[in-house]
C-alpha cells in the first residue's frame, strides 16, 4: 500500500481565528493527505505530543504576529528534546522578513506569507516528504 502523507495543523497561542488553517487543511485533504486538525489555543507541549503520537511527517503552524517569536521556537525546542526533530515544521502567517530568517535558522523549513496559494503548500509538502 502507498505511504500516506500525514500532516498536523495547529494554531498555537490564544489570539485570532483559524480560518486560514482550515483552508489549508482542506486543500491538503483534497490532495490525498491525512490531516490531523488540532484547532487553536494550543500549547507547544500539546502540539508536539500530538505530532509524536500521530506520527506526522509535517507540522503546519498557523501563527499570528507576536506568537511566532516565542511559541514556534518553543515547539522546535521540545521536538528536539523528544528526539523528534525529523518532523518538518512549516509556518503560515504574517511574519516580518527578519523573523522569517530567524525561524529558518532554528529549523523551520518554510514560512508561507499571506497570499500564498494552497497548491504551493501542497507541492512543497509533497517535495519535502519525498526528500525525507
Amino acid at each position: 500500500m502507498e505511504r500516506k502523507i500525514r500532516v498536523l495543523i495547529a494554531k498555537p497561542g490564544l489570539n485570532g481565528h483559524d480560518r486560514g488553517a482550515k483552508v489549508v487543511a482542506r486543500a491538503l485533504r483534497d490532495a490525498g493527505m491525512e490531516v490531523i486538525y488540532l484547532g487553536m489555543r494550543l500549547t507547544p507541549d500539546q502540539i508536539v505530543n500530538a505530532a509524536i503520537q500521530e506520527d506526522v511527517d509535517v507540522i503546519g503552524l498557523s501563527v499570528l504576529s507576536g506568537a511566532h517569536d516565542t511559541l514556534v521556537p518553543e515547539v522546535m525546542r521540545i521536538l528536539k528534546e523528544k528526539g523528534a526533530e525529523d518532523i518538518k515544521v512549516i509556518v503560515g502567517g504574517i511574519i516580518p522578513d527578519d523573523d522569517v530568517k530567524k525561524l529558518k535558522e532554528i529549523g523551520v523549513v518554510e514560512v508561507f506569507g499571506p497570499g500564498t496559494l494552497t497548491p504551493q503548500i501542497v507541492k512543497f509538502i509533497k517535495e519535502i516528504v519525498a526528500k525525507g
Binding site: I36, Q46, Q53
Partner: protein, 316 residues
C-alpha cells in the same frame, strides 16, 4: 530500528516507538509480521471499549469525559479515533483529537486513523493497532468509529463493551438501527439530552432492543458537554465488564474474535495468491458468458494455485 529494538521500546511504553509501529502497520512495512509475532504474547490484558454512532452525536466529547474519569483513576489509556477517508483522493481531515486535546498529555496515547477505503466504519489495521497499544501497557483502550447503517456493526467484533451513541430527534434512524447497531450495542447512550425532552427517545429505543445474551442493555441519557450522566455511564460500563467476567462471556467473545480473524486471514492469503493469475481475465470472461458459475471459477482457481498458496505459507 530493527525488529527487537522496536518491540522492546513498545513494551516499555515509548510513545514514539508506538506511533512509528502503528504507521508501519498502516503502510504494511516489510518486517511487520515478525514484529507483531514478537508482540503477540504481550497482548490480551487491555479492556477495549467501542464508541460508535452517527456523525456529530457527541462521541468524541463523551470519550473526553471517559478519559478524564479513567485518568483520575490512574489507568493507562489508549484511544483510537477512526474517520472515513475520501473514496476519491484517499485524503481525510481527522478532527476527533481536537475535542480531546485538553484532557490528554503524554500518558494518554491517542491515534487518529482513516478507514483507508475499508468498509464497515473500521480500518484494516485496527486489530493490530489495538494489539500494539495493548502490548505497550495500556489498560483501557477506547475506539471511536462512525456507525450509522447495518454494515457498521463490524466494530462489535473488535471490542469488549460497545456503546452506541444517539441523540434526540433521531426517531427514524432508530428504526434503521433496529436490525443492526441496536442489536450489537451493549449500552445505548442518548447524548445531548439537554436539547429536548428525550423520554420518547428512551422508550423508542427500549422497544427496539433485544436482550443481548442475557445482558439487559441499559439506555442512558447524557450531556457530554457538561458531564451529566457520565458517572452513570461509567457504572454501566463496569457492570457490563463484570457481567462478561462472571459469565465467562469475555472468553467466548475473545475466542469468537480469534476465530473470525483466522477465517479472514485464510481468505486473504488465498486471495493474495490468486489475484495475480495471468488467466484471471479469461476466467472472468467464461463466467460472464455463462460457461461456468462464479462458484466453480473460484474452485478452479484454488485448485490451480494450491502449491503457490502452500509454498507461500511459513513453516510451522
Amino acid at each position: 530500528m530493527n525488529g527487537i529494538e522496536i518491540v522492546n521500546k513498545v513494551l516499555s511504553g515509548d510513545n514514539r516507538a508506538i506511533a512509528k509501529l502503528i504507521s508501519n502497520i498502516e503502510n504494511q512495512a516489510p518486517n511487520i509480521d515478525e514484529v507483531l509475532m514478537k508482540l503477540y504474547p504481550h497482548t490480551g490484558n487491555a479492556y477495549v471499549i467501542g464508541v460508535t454512532g452517527a456523525t456529530g452525536v457527541g462521541k468524541s466529547t463523551l470519550i473526553n469525559g471517559l478519559i478524564n474519569h479513567y485518568k483520575s483513576q490512574g489507568l493507562r489509556l489508549g484511544v483510537i479515533c477512526i474517520d472515513p477517508s475520501s473514496p476519491i483522493t484517499g485524503g481525510a481531515i481527522l478532527g476527533d483529537r481536537l475535542r480531546l486535546v485538553n484532557s490528554i498529555d503524554e500518558r494518554v496515547f491517542i491515534r487518529s486513523m482513516t478507514t483507508r477505503g475499508y468498509k464497515g466504519g473500521i480500518t484494516k489495521s485496527l486489530r493490530d493497532v489495538i494489539r500494539v497499544l495493548d502490548a505497550s501497557g495500556k489498560e483501557l483502550i477506547i475506539i471511536e468509529t462512525i456507525g450509522v447503517s447495518q454494515v457498521d456493526v463490524e466494530i462489535a467484533n473488535y471490542v469488549d463493551t460497545l456503546l452506541l451513541v444517539v441523540m434526540p430527534y433521531m426517531g427514524d434512524e432508530i428504526q434503521l438501527m433496529k436490525a443492526g447497531l441496536l442489536e450489537v450495542a451493549d449500552i445505548v447512550v442518548i447524548n445531548k439530552a439537554d436539547l429536548t425532552n428525550s423520554e420518547d427517545m428512551v422508550l423508542a429505543i427500549k422497544e427496539n432492543l433485544n436482550s443481548n445474551n442475557g445482558w439487559e442493555v441499559p439506555v442512558i441519557k447524557t450531556v457530554a458537554i457538561n458531564g451529566f450522566g457520565i458517572p452513570e455511564l461509567i457504572n454501566k460500563i463496569n457492570e457490563h465488564k463484570n457481567y462478561l467476567l462472571t459469565t465467562n462471556g469475555i472468553e467466548k467473545k475473545r475466542k469468537d474474535r480469534i476465530k473470525e480473524e483466522i477465517l479472514e486471514e485464510i481468505f486473504n492469503i488465498v486471495k493474495q495468491n490468486i489475484v495475480g493469475d495471468e488467466k484471471f481475465d479469461e476466467i472472468v470472461k467464461k463466467v460472464f458468458e455463462k460457461e461456468i458459475t462464479p462458484h466453480f471459477a473460484a474452485q478452479l482457481l484454488i485448485k490451480k494455485h494450491k502449491f503457490l498458496i502452500f509454498n507461500n505459507c511459513v513453516d510451522v
